[in-house]
Symmetry: C2
Subunit: 340 residues, 2 copies
């Protein structure tokens, strides 16, 4: 197996910098669009054979890791908060959480029953893959923000209002989500994933004080336990320059950086015992190929060849990304970072 990714996660020497891309199985690929024309997002997630197929699609570009095709919101349905993806609109939670009664109604569930399809897809993937498989889950704040907002948001006014106005109920919601996520990640590791990533995509909206008060205990509940399993744990967010010290303290053996945090600054903030992952702005991949390559080369230069760097985007790849730019950047990362 190509273990470049796992070695970099453990800050061991590698022959070249490993690379994968968040949302690497996605709409930018014609094969993905063709399959999605026949199946909804939830159908693909819930049918292990389809999740397998989609997870494998981007590996032809030479990524050094696969990530299970799934969605961070999947645990919400078996908790009692069903949702769907509306065309071009992102997810819609049918009954958003608005008060204590709504929080009380959310319930725990057996992972094998509620999310067995993910575990099944992991088992199928492990028979096929020649690169490590990354499992994942959404972090409690990011899941709570979707539950309260009812979908995507830009300022997270409802979710943060709930947090500020009803801190005890918010904490109860976070605790319920954290426990489900902790158990889900354990089961993914049992099923065979080689690493896990916790997506706290929207936590950068909070101040460090608020992060430590309202979020960190719940992330710690998950990560302090999951880290004992010995697989790399990637802790990811966007807009987190001001939070990185606290996020690293909350947990993770690899910390995700977006393009707003230069890699040397990120390394300093998370300390020498952790690897870093990132941090190409996905929008640079929309530029002509030579310019996209130039931006990618700058990320490598910034990382400076020290161990413990996984090349990735700072956020998910965009649907309008030209396939040839993805191919070119992956080749560039491998070539430009090759150690003799």
């Amino acid at each position: 197996m190509n273990d470049r990714f796992l070695r970099a996660c453990r800050r061991e020497p590698v022959d070249c910098t490993p690379v994968w891309m968040m949302r690497q199985a996605g709409r930018y690929m014609p094969e993905y669009r063709a399959l999605r024309a026949k199946h909804t997002m939830l159908e693909v997630c819930k049918t292990p054979e389809l999740a397998l197929e989609v997870t494998l699609q981007p590996l032809k570009f030479g990524m050094d890791a696969a990530i299970l095709f799934a969605d961070i919101l999947l645990p919400l349905e078996p908790m009692g908060a069903p949702f769907d993806f509306q065309k071009g609109e992102g997810p819609v939670i049918f009954s958003p959480v608005a008060n204590k009664a709504d929080v009380d109604k959310l319930h725990d569930f057996e992972i094998e029953e509620g999310l067995g399809y993910c575990l099944e897809a992991i088992k199928l993937l492990k028979k096929e893959l020649k690169v490590p498989l990354i499992g994942f889950a959404g972090a409690p704040f990011t899941l709570a923000s979707y539950l309260i907002e009812g979908g995507k948001s830009s300022a997270f006014a409802k979710a943060k209002r709930f947090m500020y106005a009803e801190p005890e109920t918010f904490s109860a919601l976070m605790a319920k989500l954290a426990e489900v996520v902790r158990r889900f990640l354990h089961k993914q590791i049992d099923a065979g994933v080689d690493a896990v990533q916790l997506f706290d995509s929207w936590v950068g909206q909070l101040s460090a004080d608020d992060y430590r008060t309202y979020v960190m205990p719940h992330v710690q509940h998950i990560l302090k336990d999951i880290e004992k399993r010995g697989v790399p744990v990637i802790h990811f967010g966007t807009g987190t320059y001001h939070l990185l010290e606290s996020m690293a303290e909350a947990g993770g053996t690899v910390i995700g950086l977006d393009w707003r945090t230069p890699i040397p600054v990120g390394r300093q903030k998370v300390g020498p015992t952790r690897a870093v992952q990132g941090n190409l702005d996905p929008i640079t991949l929309l530029a002509p190929r030579e310019l996209a390559e130039k931006h990618a080369a700058r990320v490598l230069e910034s990382a400076g060849g020290a161990p413990g760097h996984i090349f990735n985007l700072g956020h998910g790849i965009l649907p309008e990304t030209p396939v040839e730019n993805v191919q070119a950047v992956i080749e560039l990362v491998h070539k430009a970072s090759a150690r003799p």
Copy 2:
């Protein structure tokens, strides 16, 4: 005249911390909603008597400064890019900028002709006001992002794609916008404003490297010149923790901070020759009054009573904010910061 705000901008001692709130004339006020039921946003902006009335409305709460009621997009129309505000949707640019031909078509104009209504409103306001009047303009990156996106955006993919893919055309667009803004701010000062604020609301999306390459020269074109006028110049953005050193270098005698940048950190980043403005999260104002006051008190504690702090929100006040919380927070700021 109450000169607390101007003294704080100049880092002079004050009897108590001055306070105003971005978008303080807005939908959270019943009087504002009543007036807007009869007039569109653009009608209010373009009718000096209405702009006067709306600008004065919130001053009953005891704000230490007024800000001209206007919109950062107003200069776009006389440049040849008309727009309107669609109900609940924010601004819509009728013909978004997509290429060099679109940029070439944008043209300079006489401020007195294209934006004379703002200058007229300033003159009316100066006869009425007992607090300083703040004029303002949007910064080139923020204006360019609206022009290219055609309206609001969350990831600014089109604007940043344009920037990365066509850097020369993007620079030409930025230069045109910067020159209009520079001349507009001069005319506002001529008309009588006591301070100006440059809103680079969305610039926090960029890395510091990209800020310095694509944005800073254009902001400097404006601010290095405007600073010569001797009125306080507030340089504002959101999500700028990672950019503050560069923004301060670009210009401004007061630097705006949002809730993600603790005030002592912000002060350190912008240096001892500048005041800071901020940084209450506007969403805290949606909590019950006592909790909103607690958050406001924490901002004051964090500022520590040193000179050169103007209390403000980290971004505009939200339409759903209870009026009584605005009143309570303003009173709290004045009382809790009173110097004997």
